[in-house]
């Protein structure tokens, strides 16, 4: 493990040297460490400054505590209207490796698009909307001290008769809200809020994505822990119309990871593989617009095999030196997905009108191959 980490770092150094030679000045940001929210915000600004022709930032909402929710829009400018990929990280505060992955991913594509034709093609065909930290309030709170480290939810106060804080953002979306996998107990880690979209963070994502319903091709949300690639839908009784295709993509991703890192990622829909607990983002996205192809939860691994300390069991708190290897693994998963999305993007797509939220049986969203 230590050997492969140093080998990988060696490769990174080479790439770093190459990018310096090309006239790029990479900021000295350590992607193998966890970063505070102010550090991440500064990094986003700096990334935009260093790559003005491919990176812009967008503030698309506010958290309960009135912090900005910001994404990076990454793509090579084009005269024609482009399709896009959505990626959000850090919807659950304690899953620190998720924002770490988003940062790593941004770094990777910016580092390689000028030298790797596949990445260049991808950025030509697609725009990426990447939110490194969605649950800003929760993330900041989880950095306070060791007793707050495992915070998960938002930081909005509970209802009047409740002393506990926070709503699980991933149970708050308007898609079969409150049906399964939630708790009405406001102290629960999966409390779904007083009503659907009660949380400004969930609202922000919903509005942004709804406004771009014909543009967004692929929706990714990154979580931890567990070596899992989850495909839609999160509801036990609903199968995605393109389930076979989604499984193909997921399995290809898992194969790529296995081939390079020797790690086994399990692929399946969350009601099968994880729990009958109905992950919201899947369903809400499906309801919101027709043209969605892929909704994948990618769970970067935790301290299992690659942890030099051999601590073994899966852990909520991922060991820092594993961050890089974790990033490359999730990256691997995404690269097969990226190629597929990129191919999709180039095919002409019929225009769809967004379906009504109650319509659940339409199959017209199957796109021509």
């Amino acid at each position: 493990m230590l050997l492969s980490s140093s080998g990988f770092l060696g490769l990174l150094t080479l790439l770093g040297a190459a990018s310096v030679a090309l006239g790029l000045e990479p900021q000295n940001y350590d992607f193998s460490k966890y970063h505070t929210m102010p550090e991440i915000s500064a990094w986003m600004e700096q990334t935009k400054k260093e790559n003005p022709d491919v990176v812009s930032t967008m503030i698309y909402g506010k958290t309960y505590e009135k912090s900005n929710i910001t994404l990076l829009k990454i793509g090579i400018k084009s005269d024609v209207k482009k399709k896009a990929v959505w990626m959000d990280c850090g919807i659950h505060a304690r899953e620190w490796i998720s924002p770490a992955f988003c940062q790593y991913f941004v770094k990777e594509i910016l580092l390689t698009y000028k030298t790797d034709t596949k990445v260049e093609e991808m950025l030509k065909n697609l725009d990426f909307y990447i939110t490194p930290v969605l649950n800003v309030d929760g993330y900041i709170y989880s950095w306070k001290n060791s007793s707050t480290r495992l915070w998960r939810k938002s930081r909005s106060p509970g209802p009047a008769n409740c002393t506990c804080y926070g709503t699980d953002l991933n149970r708050n979306f308007y898609a079969n809200w409150g049906m399964v996998g939630v708790s009405r107990n406001c102290c629960s880690e999966v409390y779904n809020g007083p009503r659907a979209l009660s949380e400004s963070e969930a609202q922000a994502v919903t509005e942004f994505v709804l406004q771009r319903s014909t543009e967004i091709l692929c929706f990714l949300t990154i979580h931890s822990y567990g070596q899992l690639i989850l495909v839609p839908y999160g509801h036990p009784n609903v199968t995605a119309p393109n389930y076979d295709e989604l499984m193909d993509v997921g399995l290809a991703a898992a194969k790529a990871i296995k081939g390079i890192h020797g790690m086994d990622y399990t692929v399946g829909s969350s009601p099968n593989v994880l729990c009958e607990c109905f992950l919201h983002l899947d369903m809400s996205v499906w309801n919101l617009f027709d043209s969605i192809l892929n909704v994948l939860h990618v769970f970067p691994e935790q301290t299992q095999i690659l942890d030099p300390l051999e601590t073994g069991h899966v852990s909520l708190v991922s060991h820092t030196p594993s961050l890089l290897s974790c990033g490359t693994k999730a990256n691997m998963a995404l690269s097969s997905l990226r190629i597929r999305s990129s191919q999709r993007a180039r095919r002409p797509m019929p225009e769809f009108t967004p379906s009504s939220p109650t319509s659940m049986t339409r199959t017209s969203m199957l796109l021509p191959r």
Binding site: S146, S183, C187, G226, T311, H313, H319
Partner: protein, 278 residues
């Protein structure tokens, strides 16, 4: 008062404090008698199989775990569901990343009465018992001969770091937690140890070393963090034993937060009565 729990032959002593109701003994052989059902093949990657494997994992740790031997399932190969789950899984010793071969287990969840802990039978092929006697003896002697009592906290820390010196106590906490997690498991849980808030070595007169642990467990299904205080003993000869265990709910009014998750199976996942173990 002590309550003695039998779990398929393994005996340990559990003293529960007043506000945590006493667990009822689970008599071996007594199980839900349901109409004979054909064996339903389970997909090894689906959660019924992985949850049952997790229970088997906890069972193995209660029998064979030590500060240098901490076990986990590294992949369910085959699973079937009858009244009980039948599993074949590969076993790994986690502290060394060592493959231990194939195990087959039967995990019986008492569907009719979730207060009853699952019953496990398990056999593993190959050289199953890890030879850790040298390291265990070494640690044991070091602690017995030390001039001060050992303690530690925040394991792992916020960035996932565990001091190499603390690693055996992380494993020890994991093994001890397995006693609790075995007892607390049901078809709607997937329990792992998440964090050791702190541990303190206690004075003892006898050969056993004794530790007080404040541990956080994580249930993947409800996502709850469960705080447990454990008093445990360990020696190379005596193995790991849990002497006392107490659950510390995060607040008075949210004592049963983790029992209220709606699931596809049990729509009536209401708050259970006071007799529930948690």
């Amino acid at each position: 008062a002590h309550t003695v729990l039998y779990i398929t032959g393994l005996q340990f002593v559990l003293k529960l404090t007043p506000h945590t109701p006493a667990a009822s003994p689970s008599v071996p052989g007594q199980e839900d008698i349901q109409a004979a059902m054909p064996v339903e093949e389970l997909d090894p990657s689906h959660y019924p199989a992985t949850r049952a494997a997790k229970v088997a994992e906890h069972f193995i740790n209660t029998r064979y775990g030590s500060p240098f031997a901490w076990f986990g399932s590294s992949g369910v190969k085959k699973a079937g569901l009858e009244v009980r789950a039948k599993l074949h899984f590969t076993l790994k010793e986690m502290t060394r990343n060592q493959d231990m071969g194939l195990c087959s287990a039967e995990v019986l969840f008492h569907r009719a009465d979730e207060r009853k802990p699952p019953q496990v039978q398990c056999t593993c092929s190959g050289a199953f018992q890890v030879n850790t006697s040298a390291e265990e003896e070494d640690l044991y002697q070091r602690l017995r001969n030390a001039t001060s009592l050992l303690s530690g906290s925040d394991i792992p820390n916020s960035v996932g770091h565990i001091d190499p010196e603390m690693a055996p106590f992380w494993h020890l906490g994991g093994v001890a937690s397995s006693f609790i997690m075995l007892r607390e498991s049901n078809e709607s849980t997937l329990l792992n140890m998440a964090h050791i808030d702190n541990f303190t070595q206690m004075e003892t007169k006898d050969a056993q070393l004794m530790f007080q642990y404040d541990i956080l467990l994580h249930d993947m299904v409800s996502q709850e963090i469960l705080k447990w205080k454990l008093l445990l003993s360990w020696s190379p000869d005596g193995g790991v034993k849990v002497l006392e265990a107490e659950w510390d709910p995060k607040c008075r009014s949210c004592e049963r937060a983790h029992l209220t998750v709606t699931t596809g199976i049990a729509a009536e996942q209401e708050m259970k009565g006071d007799n529930n173990n948690v």
